[in-house]
Symmetry: C2
Subunit: 391 residues, 2 copies
Amino acid sequence: MEAAFADRITDVPRSFIREILKVTLDRSVISFAGGLPNRDLFPIAELKAAAMRVFDEEGADALQYGPSEGHAPLRDYISRRYRERLGLEIPPERILITSGSQQGLDLLAKTFLNEGDDILIEEPGYLGAIQAFSVYRARFVPVPLTESGMDIERLTGAMASSRPKLAYMVPNFQNPSGISYSAENRRAVAEAIGGTRTIIIEDDPYGELRFDGTPAPSFGALAPENTILLGSFSKTVVPGFRLGWIAAPPAVMDRLLVAKQASDLHTNSFSQRVLARYLLDADPDAHIARIIAVYREQRDAMLRAIDGHFPGSVRRTRPQGGMFLWATLPEGASSLALFEKAAARKVVFVPGTPFYIGRDDAPTMRLNFSSVDAATIAEGIRRLGDAMREG
Amino acid sequence: MEAAFADRITDVPRSFIREILKVTLDRSVISFAGGLPNRDLFPIAELKAAAMRVFDEEGADALQYGPSEGHAPLRDYISRRYRERLGLEIPPERILITSGSQQGLDLLAKTFLNEGDDILIEEPGYLGAIQAFSVYRARFVPVPLTESGMDIERLTGAMASSRPKLAYMVPNFQNPSGISYSAENRRAVAEAIGGTRTIIIEDDPYGELRFDGTPAPSFGALAPENTILLGSFSKTVVPGFRLGWIAAPPAVMDRLLVAKQASDLHTNSFSQRVLARYLLDADPDAHIARIIAVYREQRDAMLRAIDGHFPGSVRRTRPQGGMFLWATLPEGASSLALFEKAAARKVVFVPGTPFYIGRDDAPTMRLNFSSVDAATIAEGIRRLGDAMREG
């Protein structure tokens, strides 16, 4: 077959992480490279009970084609939770259930982006978003992150020099950096974008996984007219169900539904019902509290190990939640070279490079602490420190 | 929010069928408009048993992120079944599990279609495919169908006057017409397209639901170098799991994987494992035989009722399988006007118009026989015949 591919697909960056994961197939390798939630915390028994109820009580309904919008009780639950957690009034009619929030990104890109449209992203930014938007050949306008959020000066500069149709942000425990936007920073971002035609996509997969500190307001509250929200159950329940959502104004929902129908008709009906049953019958808050307790301990273990084993010249963030921590080597150091040395010592991480647009060898690295226990973290970080000290 | 939508999304035809389905919410309306498999035949107990085994034996693995290619045992099963059913040698590495075959269409469009590329489709054609390809702003080249398949003269004409990158065909029990391509017709199609750069997308959701007649060879055998296969478990098991697949050459698989990752990372891991368990533990062939027995009876009931109640001027197809039958009113008659009269008599169908590209009021109609029992079919067709005779 002499396949003539679409230009869009030849433009998409290969998932560097997939390559790295191959290394980690070797069980003796300690991996901080993944982005997986901790499988030991999956509520298997509760989900099994919920699945039983769905088979017994909803049988054929749960296995037939379903509405493109998603399962009503699940949309109701998400709406209630926005009210209870964030004080946001988002009626169920404004919530579209998606096949994971990665599909949320694809549907938003499909709905908004013409080739060459500007899209504002964080630097470093989430790889999945960069991939999804690349498919639609958007022009990326990266704005650097600081410890406390967006670099406001650079943001206002970007808003003045480009016409971003969308602005993609992960304000809580950002992937890859682990930083969170401060309340002040969020107000400044809302100030800079509110009233323009730019739409903020607030992606919040980790927001409920807060270890310490106090939550800052969502852009859904600070710039409601300019904000579309993305959510996911992958980090708070399980990723295998591929269940997330988009919360958008009615006019946008209308278009998103067309995109959803064209993309896969609707999201898995059975898993939506099992999840809804689980959320209503079990105690999801107690489960999230368990996840927080474990991840906090693992984050602390990683912070201690880094401060004990990394050279003083290496800077690192101190995430208040989520799954990732970000380290910065001295200017000029190569994280790709470090990756080779580390892999030889059977420890891996994700070099920062793929999280930037068009950068060759960033001296930064992403370290995941959610899927490795405290003792293994200590050992892995020690090996990594040794690799850093290698001539 | 002043949303500036992408051009692509404003081009997509609204799903006319969604509008029609609203009418059918009234329980007293007999609907031949749907495209749903018969829910009474869902193997609920077997799927429940399979789900239990997955929770007990594969627990966390089934709930964690999974490979973008899909669950290996499911890909192996599909590969074996191609060998056993059709004598096609398609190794598992060439099979990508998708979120229903609707996603297969989206991924293929994403991978191959630049704006304005020609795509050859059947006339009348499958609405889901028209929607999926419209999103990528392809230029449709419709080729009329005859009782025995593609109109070969029109096909060769289209191949000469356009450069179709893709040719979308449903050779078995086509949706909406119910017709199948004869062996001769398939050879002529393979002749016309084989050796060109055009890729045949053979979509076969109904192929296993054959009531009578003998299977004709797949384009995967007649034009292997030019063919990509699409499959689905929605009609043979359940649609609610949203599980289908693409079988493509390695070079194409490579690109499809990039598109898949960007679209939703991977398909629901849990449902893939439940389906694989079901297929291995239960007796899917006995289940398919039950579906065939019921659908055959319902098709026969519809043929009898049509021949008894429709005016002699109305032509209809005689599907050898699948879920749909196609009727053609006398030239000049309006199926949209008939729809209004029929709805008043509480019976609905899908007027042919949306199955054509840029046609206003085709005198044709799609009748679904899979989800309505024989007695209801007789009553519904009688009402429809009365509506046809109305002045």
